[in-house]
């Protein structure tokens, strides 16, 4: 039995609450339009196919952002290739293989919540010292991706675990009554049921990963060339936007153009994440 969205059967009737809700939605949407109009008016005319496929010239004031796009995607790939398996595995362990109040589980959950809250600048300093210096990766996409993975993991784990925990107990009992192994129950029943939570975690993670600036500046660096390997330094979109708007004279238009590209990338990645979890997980459950 899938949890049904209450949307169609219940509508808020109380006027005060409904007014507040609508006002909020309107102001948030209004702010977003304000921001978008600001960005589009300044950055739209920089957008073109050339912008997406050529290298930057004159410190980014002219030319394009192709190397930044590649660096960003490369860093994201590393982040999620590392974070998704580790994250889901940890969430499964916390939810299925431990009692909620056991010492290790409590300690791990606590650590995860703290990790999710550690300021990005601390991650930047730590990532730079640990991955770049101590492990010797230097300024590299790999160091950037791994540091981001550390930042995204706690969010993924907690949301996945919450999703698994919300699955009713009788589902699990039913599964074991049918003789399913733990692994089979997970694969065919529990994970699919937790799909919306996993999606939420992924989306939050993608948003966080794309938005981080200082962390990547310290770990994957400033070089604006097309990276030639995972160990190369590369500038991600967020760092490029920062440099163009805060450091380079006359870089504002290009900064806004890049920001628009980042928004589109975000939309695409969100769509991809939702489509993938839907395809691999949620569809396995037949709607009641």
């Amino acid at each position: 039995m899938k949890t049904m969205s209450p949307r169609r059967t219940h509508r808020l009737t109380d006027h005060v609450l409904a007014t507040f809700v609508w006002l909020t939605a309107l102001s948030v949407a209004g702010f977003f339009c304000w921001l978008l109009v600001d960005m589009v008016s300044q950055g739209f005319d920089r957008l073109s196919w050339d912008f997406l496929t050529s290298e930057p010239e004159r410190s980014g004031r002219r030319g394009g952002i192709a190397p930044m796009l590649v660096s960003t995607v490369a860093v994201l790939i590393i982040t999620f290739v590392v974070a998704i398996p580790l994250g889901v595995a940890t969430a499964i362990w916390l939810s299925e293989f431990t009692r909620t109040q056991s010492r290790p589980a409590v300690a791990i959950r606590f650590s995860l919540d703290v990790l999710a809250g550690v300021p990005s600048i601390v991650y930047g300093l730590f990532g730079s010292a640990f991955f770049c210096v101590w492990l010797g990766m230097g300024y590299s996409l790999l160091a950037g991706g791994l540091t981001l993975a550390c930042m995204v993991l706690p969010i993924l784990i907690r949301t996945t675990e919450a999703g698994l925990a919300a699955v009713p107990a009788d589902w699990r009992q039913g599964a074991s009554a049918l003789g399913l192994t733990r692994w089979a129950a997970l694969r065919f029943l529990l994970l699919p049921a937790a799909a919306p939570a996993i999606t939420a975690g992924l989306l939050l993670g993608i948003g966080r990963a794309l938005a981080e600036t200082a962390v990547l500046l310290f770990t994957s660096g400033y070089v604006d060339r097309m990276p030639a390997s995972w160990l190369d330094s590369g500038r991600v979109l967020a760092v490029h936007i920062f440099d163009l708007s805060m450091n380079v004279t006359g870089g504002d238009k290009a900064a806004y153009g890049t920001a628009l590209v980042l928004l589109v990338l975000l939309l695409l990645l969100n769509g991809l994440a939702m489509a993938l979890t839907d395809r691999w997980l949620a569809r396995r459950i037949v709607q009641a």
Binding site: L217, A228, S229, N247
Partner: protein, 271 residues
């Protein structure tokens, strides 16, 4: 599962399609001031075009980082946005360009010049309203730079102030933050790089540059050294440069890159 096959093959091809770095690639690493970094990026690109097989990697981190990395050998060259101090004489420095600093006001401010004493009084909080110096009845918003930056040190040195003396209402990090703050506040006063300010003024940003001690704040005056507040942008190395490092420095100090320097709104040094 077509999508996953696609993703898998993309993932496997990715490192391959990245290409293999040529075995005889020479690399030069520069770290340091974020003011100098965009210029060095441009210089590096042109150098790479003229010298295939060479890679110039530029990282930011601040002037102090540039000095530390040059000393320790982590970088081949450090980028520093000021002249070297006496205790840094163990390093060799090479001047790339000059950058002037001047006082900037909002365009709508009727004040056209301030004496050095007035500037000191404003920055130490003794004068707090524009009407005292002939402007409108508007509180003065003093914009200062954060500690450690060469621009701040230059400013303090010229006006003979110490950091705790300055009473600011807004503290900024980068040049552009300063310009945007000034453009948004009719009562603001701050100091920024002349080149950037000139560009922004021409571009329509509502700011104006004030002369210092009667000398107009123009790039021309920085070039002929009549403008009192300017700093050199330098590259530093642990020992006098040799080999690839020397080739790059010679290139960076040559006439052929004047256009790049001027595009960054810095002043090439006459040779």
């Amino acid at each position: 599962m077509r999508l996953s096959t696609m993703l898998l093959s993309f993932g496997l091809l990715f490192p391959v399609s990245f290409g293999v770095v040529a075995a005889d690639t020479q690399k030069l690493t520069l770290t340091g001031s974020s003011t100098v970094a965009p210029l060095v990026l441009d210089l590096g690109k042109r150098f790479e075009k003229q010298n295939p097989g060479v890679r110039i990697d530029v990282q930011a981190g601040g002037s102090s980082r540039g000095l530390a990395d040059a000393r320790s050998g982590l970088a081949d060259l450090g980028m520093v946005s000021r002249a070297l101090k006496p205790d840094e004489a163990d390093l060799t420095s090479y001047v790339l360009a000059l950058d002037g600093i001047t006082i900037v006001l909002h365009k709508s401010n009727p004040v056209t010049a301030l004496s050095n004493e007035q500037i000191v009084a404003i920055y130490t909080g003794k004068i707090t309203n524009w009407k005292t110096v002939g402007g409108k009845d508007l509180p003065i918003t003093v914009v200062n730079k954060a500690e450690g930056r060469s621009t701040l040190e230059l400013f303090l040195q010229y006006f003979k102030l110490k950091a705790p003396d300055v009473k600011a209402q807004v503290v900024i990090g980068d040049n552009q933050q300063g310009i945007k703050t000034l453009a948004g506040n009719p009562g603001a006063i701050g100091y920024v790089s002349i080149g950037s300010a000139e560009y922004e003024e021409e571009d329509g940003t509502p700011i104006k540059l004030l002369p210092i001690n009667g000398v107009a704040a123009t790039v021309a005056n920085v070039r002929n050294r009549t403008f009192p507040l300017s700093r050199p942008l330098v590259l530093v190395s642990r020992a006098p440069a040799t080999g690839l490092t020397k080739r790059f420095i010679d290139f960076a100090q040559s006439r052929q890159v004047y256009d790049l320097i001027q595009e960054q709104f810095f002043v090439p040094v006459a040779r």
